[in-house]
Point group: C2
Chain length 464, copies 2
């Protein structure tokens, strides 16, 4: 973006947040111009407000000057939600990083948007409480970004996703008003549910300046059981068996044969060759109950054709079982410099069909694919791997992605489970949503952001 | 409302839904003009569509003719959400009453809006599944109404409220477009979360024509423990003790001393005079686990000062314990012909303060008050009782309601936990929400319903 920011704007921003908190030089701008995808879009400048009032003043100014604003949390997204593809201002919430309150009796926490997910998890666990949402990026992601993207993670089968833990929000609107949605209680039906609307709105409708989050009592214990399967169908067929046993695991993670080969080749886990699928099932709760449930899981896995079944007895064994899953990201790097990681989702019984179709697609386009993810909630990460410098391979990989989206939709699912749309999936939005549905969303966007200054270029393929 | 509906409109409606499904005569209109409050507002006519296409055609016509439309489910609300206070059309969903699918493996149901909550509960329980939301009106309420009002109930402490079970919706917009929000999976971050926005929107933003609902495995067992307390503070102080024991009851119901006196006087339950509060604590889950948890609950209640503690051992004893709670509605009728039932909510640790303040308010206005509700989630039903023909008493009772709302807000809560705003609480909306927050909601309303034809006169004190 070639826009030159008027001197006046810089002066006024310095008045609002202080000179030290406005970044204008190229070198220091770069870290604010990319996310986990690594594609760089330089902002014209970066502001680092400390208070809600500062955020409101920035938005009023930006709206007056028609300056694009992109809010930024941890900057670890996979679809570019925090990246300023139209230049303008990046508003980083990194200085708004206080945990204001942890209320044990009433089971909530009040936090600023720049608190890291992991930091909140540790702080509440120290009090015997539990904040369940755990996106893979939890060590670096900010709560504000988690809410804006409605982040998921492995525990959603039992605990739901981020939006299920947001009780209240303070939001600065695109026109610079400060509004409050929800409150401190699970029950609250006063006016439209703006919390519901803002969760997952990818920073297009407002900037989150405070969040009130629902907490749970911390489960006493966790336990993991691992099993290998000769087919993906067998592995997935055991999931409804848990329902029959009235059992809801905290997580059911799955890895396909390519994932297993990858970690085996890279780290010699010694997983037998006949393993075409691997399941990791975690249960949590009261100590005795977890013991009982882990045995039940073990039995169900065996009866469903699982072999080499291992039930962790100690924290050390627990870590070992998850090692395979954690090694995966590194292990697949050897298959290509470019990873197209797509978080499709289907009703969980359709996972085997999805994976079969993805394999066919990969074969047709001669692209290596690795599938793994959350078998409990139907969310599979389909990773097409190729050489990023090989333009022909990249083109083929992108075609494979489009066909994967089509397959997920045909199977009753959709194109994004937890990464959002951002700019990378905006061209595919029409595959998933009808024209009147998109138009309804845009009407809401225009109603709240008449000048379309907040996070332009995201979600929709045009900003009108 | 004196509006005379043009002949042409009636003719066109008859073409859309068939003559048999348009009601124009006064006598048959009356049942569609009131809800649980019993205040009558006659509609000009009632239409009973069977399909989404019919609903869309009706809305297109209504939008063209600027005809007010009020969607109606079971008609059992407490704030008038389904009542046509500006006349026009009532669109009853009673013929859209099919359960289209119950998917065991993928844990969801697809239903039309006119399915009764109880009917759905029974249908899924027969399959070993569980739909947790259970508003008090569940035998008559419709799923569509539950979603529109984001209905609660006693189980919200463990299971959340209706919105936590809505995966997907088909909606007809005020301008007659058919849109789809969400889908069949818990994880879905494709575009704005219109499901989140529609839940609790009280029929102002669209008409729900289909819902995809999340189900859980049916818990094997339930168990209730009852205890009496000498003070409300003692009773409420045991709630955080459950958190310390990492225990989440399915329900914690509370009755204050006036509630206890009322049922005792009416039905001779023999509850001792020193009981100033009664708690009913229900746990559910696996059979062994429930047994263990019920004992833990019993111990915590005793240690917290509870007396006359009873733990149900059989289904019969279970029923007996809940008898007291169920008798309440009938028992309090003798205290007045008019019941102003207000569902305020506070962070649960503030319940004792709320009840103390409500008692002071009642004393000051010389109005009898009965408080009971959901101690687990802070939602107390404050019932001011008076003679409906005594205008002076009614005036005093209404003042008491306003002060109760102020007290709930001061204590960090809000004016409606599960009944919604409708027309009865619209005059109080500004007590709970700031002007910019209300204006943001209205912008959304205008964006989706430019002619403000859908459920006019509700939520906001003016329709602009």
């Amino acid at each position: 973006m070639e826009r030159a920011i008027e001197k006046e704007i810089i002066t006024r921003l310095c008045e609002i947040v202080g000179e030290d908190h406005v970044i204008t030089e190229g070198e220091r701008l770069a870290p604010y111009g990319q996310d986990a995808l690594g594609e760089l879009f330089l902002p014209d400048l970066v502001v680092l407000p400390r208070t809600t009032e500062e955020v409101a003043a920035i938005m009023k100014l930006a709206n007056e000057k028609l300056l694009p604003v992109t809010a930024r949390g941890g900057g670890v997204g996979y679809t570019g939600g925090a990246v300023p593809i139209k230049g303008g201002l990046v508003l980083s919430t990194e200085r708004m990083n206080r945990i204001k309150e942890i209320n044990f009796d009433d089971l909530y926490a009040v936090v600023e948007p720049g608190v890291r997910t992991y930091e909140l998890q540790c702080a509440v666990e120290a009090r015997g409480l539990f904040y369940p949402p755990d996106p893979a990026s939890f060590r670096e992601s900010f709560i504000g970004g988690n809410i804006a993207e409605n982040a998921g993670g492995p525990r959603s089968i039992k605990y739901g996703v981020t939006k299920h833990y947001v009780l209240g929000l303070e939001i600065v609107t695109p026109t610079g008003e400060v509004i409050r949605a929800g409150g401190r209680t699970t029950k609250n039906v006063v006016g439209f549910d703006l919390v519901g609307l803002i969760c997952g709105s990818e920073g297009l409708l407002g900037i989150i300046t405070e969040a009130i989050l629902r907490l749970l009592p911390l489960p006493e214990a966790r336990r993991t059981v691992r099993a290998l399967f000769r087919t993906m169908r067998e592995a997935c067929a055991c999931v409804p068996q848990f329902v029959r046993a009235a059992l809801v695991p905290a997580a059911i993670e799955v890895m396909d044969r390519h994932s297993i080969r990858a970690v085996n080749d890279a780290f010699s886990f010694g997983i037998p060759d006949e393993a075409e699928a691997l399941l990791l099932v975690e249960v949590d709760g009261n100590r005795d109950e977890v013991e009982r449930e882990a045995r039940m899981v073990e039995r169900i896995l065996r009866e469903s054709g699982g072999f080499d079944v291992r039930r962790a007895e100690t924290a050390e064994e627990e870590r070992e079982l998850w090692e395979v899953r954690r090694a995966l990201s590194d292990a697949i790097k050897r298959y290509g410099t470019l990873k197209l990681n797509n978080d499709v989702v289907v009703p969980r019984s359709r996972i085997p069909e999805l994976i079969e179709r993805v394999e066919q697609i990969a074969q047709r386009y001669e692209i290596f694919v690795v599938n793994f993810g959350h078998a409990g909630d139907g969310n599979i990460h389909v990773n097409f791997m190729c050489d990023g410098d090989d333009r022909e391979a990249v083109r083929r990989a992108r075609e494979a992605v489009r066909e994967t989206f089509a397959a997920a939709l045909e199977l009753g699912g959709t194109i994004s489970a937890e990464h959002g749309i951002g700019y990378t999936k905006a061209p595919y939005l029409r595959m998933a949503l009808s024209e009147p549905t998109i138009e309804t969303m845009k009407r809401i966007k225009r109603a709240l952001d008449p000048n379309w200054i907040l996070n332009p270029g995201k979600m929709f393929s045009d900003d009108r």
